[in-house]
């Protein structure tokens, strides 16, 4: 019994800490700082716990919960990215007066939900985890409740997300009806191409998941929520739920749906191509950086899905490498936004960046590196992410997907270049307020260093990811 609990230790620790911090927050005055720092420490401790756990695959609760390298990797990725997102945005949170003590706690709750998602081996546990994180995200989207845009984005996200959760749940119930089981592995045994009802269920589940990772055509909420929510929340939305969503998607393709590859492959290819194209084209006309990053994230999800579309382990690996590098780039990009403050107000328009290279050379260079990396220009990290994806796509002879993907890279390069143009080529002299947010600066620095030095040893990440699929 004690052994079993060890498997769940990160989740148990997280749950207890949430209770304790919640109580602390309620019973102390002006507790934001305290709770915030405590949450960071909790995240750090959870990382340590996961690192210390054995890397043997273990299952409990009638095989519904699984602890393996795959889930541990994603948990660590989720924790690290939450840590960076939270800490780089602290100054922003305080200055935008959304420093409620619930803020970090809700983030912890959503992390807990994601933990169950990536560890689930059962439809019910999966759905519970998904809903736990979704509920937390609804609140986060509208946390700035006196702000019209934030409330609007919260409602929008809630309504659409609830709809997609409904579809997903419907799919789960259909799947149960047609296979007689909720366990992923048992479903995999029962599923084959003759089981038309289950294929129907697969489509519903895919729709639900595509919504969560904002893949076209279920992306409509993304730009509005990204723009409406406070930047600190947007950066969380852009990074962490995407990681969890993709992990679950890979899991679904890898375990329960493994025998109906041909059925879902064409759907994923379509979603992937549509996301790449829309992400590239729609971003061109954007004037708000957060909207631009929203469309760019749609495009990036398209590339990540291209790896999934191969339906092979090499493809999944490349997707995981992709999403990891994507996380680093996006955290860097959003941390840059925290420095765009002028006259005490945070700026969000691309035109506000006009000519900042003259007064803020370091910020400009960082932005430059991150944007070129997002565009996938060598020798930066973003190139390798795309390179691995297309290597596995071409390995499986999906030439059309590869060529469309690379052509959309060129189109998307255009809007990244537009931002760089604004920063470097324009003659204005925009001067931001002196940058006080040291953590954001450090985060940008870490992210840029990672992206620049990635080419020195590009197989490090690959080796780690390869070990996830060994068992």
């Amino acid at each position: 019994m004690i052994n079993n609990l060890n498997i769940l230790l990160p989740e148990i620790f997280l749950t207890l800490s949430i209770f304790v911090t919640l109580m602390l927050g309620v019973f102390t005055q002006k507790s934001f700082n305290l709770i915030f720092n405590l949450s960071s420490i909790i995240i750090l401790i959870t990382i340590v716990i996961i690192f210390n756990s054995s890397n043997i695959t273990e299952r409990i609760f009638l095989d519904s919960f699984i602890k393996d390298n795959f889930s541990s990797y994603f948990k660590v990725l989720i924790l690290f990215s939450s840590l960076f997102v939270l800490n780089s945005s602290k100054v922003f949170i305080i200055e935008s007066k959304i420093d409620k003590f619930e803020y970090p706690i809700i983030i912890l709750i959503s992390i807990l939900g994601m933990f169950f998602m990536v560890s689930s081996n059962d439809l019910i546990l999966f759905y519970l985890g998904l809903e736990l994180q979704s509920l937390a995200l609804y609140i986060l989207a509208s946390i700035d409740r006196d702000n019209l845009k934030s409330s609007e984005s919260g409602i929008k996200y809630f309504v659409l997300s609830a709809l997609s959760s409904g579809l997903l749940l419907y799919g789960c119930s259909l799947l149960y009806g047609f296979t007689g089981s909720t366990n992923f592995e048992l479903i995999a045994d029962k599923l084959n191409e003759e089981n038309k009802g289950a294929i129907f269920a697969m489509v519903f589940i895919l729709v639900g998941l595509a919504f969560k990772i904002s893949a076209v055509p279920f992306h409509m909420w993304t730009p509005d929520v990204y723009e409406g929510a406070p930047t600190s929340i947007t950066s969380f939305f852009a990074v962490v739920p995407k990681v969890a969503g993709l992990a679950v998607l890979i899991k679904f393709m890898f375990i329960p749906f493994v025998n109906i590859l041909l059925e879902w492959q064409s759907i994923i290819i379509f979603i992937s191509i549509a996301s790449m194209i829309l992400g590239a084209v729609a971003a061109i006309v954007q004037k708000n950086i957060k909207r631009l990053l929203a469309y760019s994230s749609i495009g990036h999800i398209g590339y990540a899905l291209a790896g999934v579309a191969t339906g092979a382990i090499s493809g999944y690996k490349s997707t995981i490498v992709y999403i990891t590098i994507y996380v680093v780039m996006n955290i860097g990009a959003f941390s840059c936004l925290y420095m765009m403050k002028k006259d005490g107000e945070y700026k969000e328009n691309i035109s506000d960046l006009s000519g900042i290279s003259k007064k803020h050379p370091i910020l400009a260079v960082s932005f430059l590196i991150i944007l070129f990396s997002l565009a996938g220009i060598p020798p930066l990290g973003g190139f390798f992410a795309k390179f691995y994806i297309f290597t596995s796509v071409i390995e499986h002879k999906m030439y059309t997907l590869a060529i469309i993907g690379l052509l959309t890279t060129v189109i998307s390069a255009f809007y990244y270049l537009k931002v760089i143009k604004t920063i470097y080529f324009e003659d204005n002299f925009v001067v931001f307020d002196p940058i006080k947010n040291k953590v954001a600066q450090t985060t940008v620095l870490i992210s840029c260093t990672f992206l620049i030095t990635f080419f020195l040893y590009p197989s490090l990440l690959n080796n780690i990811v390869s070990s996830l699929f060994l068992n």
Partner: protein, 498 residues
């Protein structure tokens, strides 16, 4: 020899750019220029040493460095042979000249400019050293970033348009090459080009792969009809940017044809030869005619670059010894001459801030030293015997005559046109009446400008009279290239006859 000379060569400019980055920012300080000059001259000397110690009697790749890079997939492999060493030396020779030219022409953000130039040099040397397709692609593409910034930040009034056009055209061309590289990897199991040379790529794939590589190199060369980015980029780029663009970046494509297209896809190269002939001839004649009608000096030289690169592609795809050697010779010569011509334009542009031909006229009366040097380069560009320009064109035409009289005839016609636009340019700028009174108060070129131009003029004339050092370096490698090519073509025809 265990000393990693090629890696040192590649990363020396990068290291010196790092020193500039950490050096203190001061107004009117020359220290960034000294640091970068020191770094680039050291690189130049090292590359001369490399050339000197290269065994020119061997066609193998030398100074090979190999490191595992991505597990079981790609090795970081560098090496040079007789062909690439010349391009490396050209790169390291042109870069210090560009840095010297900054002293007069770049007023704003000199540090950043020098950093960009040095990083660009790193990538350019990397392109010529790499013996692995992915490493090559990495360096080839990475060069876009500094060049984009050089055009965009320090360029002329229409710089944004030009920088975007340059970046997107080149990127569009090269993504297809990336697809081809990955396909080659899955076909042969390696991206190491020395091993791909030994493995025949299946015939049915060759044509498509060749076209994918061609799409990248054609944009970069640039060949008609995808040359339109070049005049824009040249006109808007600052002097040093134009010099690097014309002298080195364009040569990457010619080098790519020699290093990749022909040895890896011999059958496709044979198959597509008529296409290359056609595009080259159009480039030579059409862009020469376009060059005649330009009223902007930089644009005129840019179009002449397209025409000259037309000779290069023509020569490469004659697949004869004279043709290929001529092409390489022409690339080196064009590297020197076009660099010099852009510097010449830069010199007067710094003084009068106009590139229009009509602004000038009768410069010979007021800037005699400048006019002399300008004349030397103009004559070299039109291929006057005794300059490098003549030898390159002569060898290419000799090669072409072996293959097709008709093509050679058309190409020779281009030589006449080349003479026409260069002489007419000289007549209008250097000679003629001085209508513009501002010219009368102009100062003749100063010592730094003379030193840059004289260095270039010396080599243009020296190698014009005595081409042996270059030709000898090339000889064995080109022989090897042609032998391998003919061998694989013969193999195919043997198979067909059976």
């Amino acid at each position: 020899m265990n000393f990693p000379i090629l890696s040192t060569l590649i990363f020396l400019p990068l290291i010196s750019s790092f020193f500039i980055f950490v050096s203190k920012e001061q107004k009117k300080s020359y220290s960034p220029i000294y640091i970068s000059l020191f770094g680039s001259v050291a690189t130049f000397l090292l590359s001369l040493f490399l050339w000197y110690s290269l065994d020119i009697n061997s066609s193998d790749f030398q100074f090979i460095e190999e490191k595992s890079w991505i597990n079981n997939f790609i090795k970081f492999k560098l090496g040079v042979d007789g062909i690439s060493v010349l391009f490396i030396v050209l790169t390291t020779f042109i870069t210090p000249i560009c840095i010297v030219s900054c002293i007069n022409s770049v007023r704003d953000r000199v540090r950043e400019f020098l950093i960009a130039i040095l990083i660009l040099e790193t990538f350019m040397i990397g392109v010529f050293c790499s013996l692995d397709l992915v490493i090559f692609y990495l360096f080839f593409e990475a060069g876009l970033i500094p060049m984009f910034l050089i055009i965009g930040v320090w360029g002329g009034p229409k710089r944004v348009y030009s920088a975007f056009k340059f970046f997107l055209f080149t990127l569009l061309g090269s993504v297809l090459m990336l697809v081809a590289i990955i396909v080659i990897y899955w076909l042969t199991g390696t991206t190491d080009i020395t091993r791909i040379y030994e493995i025949q790529i299946p015939q049915e794939y060759q044509n498509l792969l060749w076209l994918a590589f061609f799409s990248s190199f054609a944009v970069k060369t640039p060949m008609w009809p995808v040359h339109t980015w070049l005049p824009d980029a040249h006109v808007e780029a600052p002097t040093a940017g134009s010099v690097i663009l014309a002298a080195i970046l364009l040569k990457m494509a010619g080098y790519g044809f020699l290093r990749f297209s022909i040895p890896m896809f011999p059958i496709a190269s044979e198959f597509f030869t008529p296409l290359i002939y056609f595009l080259s001839i159009v480039a030579i004649i059409y862009t020469s005619l376009v060059a005649l009608m330009q009223d902007d000096m930089k644009k005129l030289i840019a179009y002449s670059s397209v025409a000259h690169m037309g000779y290069v592609t023509l020569g490469i795809f004659t697949l004869t010894k004279q043709g290929i050697e001529g092409s390489i010779y022409q690339m080196i010569s064009h590297g020197l001459i076009s660099a010099a011509l852009f510097l010449c334009v830069g010199v007067v542009y710094d003084r009068l801030h106009s590139r229009l031909i009509s602004t000038y006229g009768g410069l010979v009366n007021y800037l005699p030293k400048y006019s002399f040097l300008f004349l030397v380069f103009a004559l070299a560009a039109l291929g006057l015997p005794g300059t490098t320009g003549f030898l390159g064109e002569f060898l290419i035409l000799t090669g072409t005559f072996q293959k097709s009289y008709f093509v050679a005839l058309l190409a020779t016609f281009g030589v006449v046109l080349g003479a026409a636009y260069m002489l007419w340019l000289t007549k209008r700028v250097i000679f003629g009446k001085t209508n513009n009174t501002e010219i009368k108060s102009l100062k003749d070129i100063n010592k730094t400008e003379i030193s840059m131009l004289a260095a270039l003029a010396f080599f243009v004339i020296f190698f014009g009279f005595y081409p042996m050092p270059l030709i000898e370096t090339l000889n064995v490698s080109v022989d090897n290239l042609i032998n391998n090519y003919e061998q694989s073509i013969n193999n195919i025809s043997l198979v067909k006859n059976d």
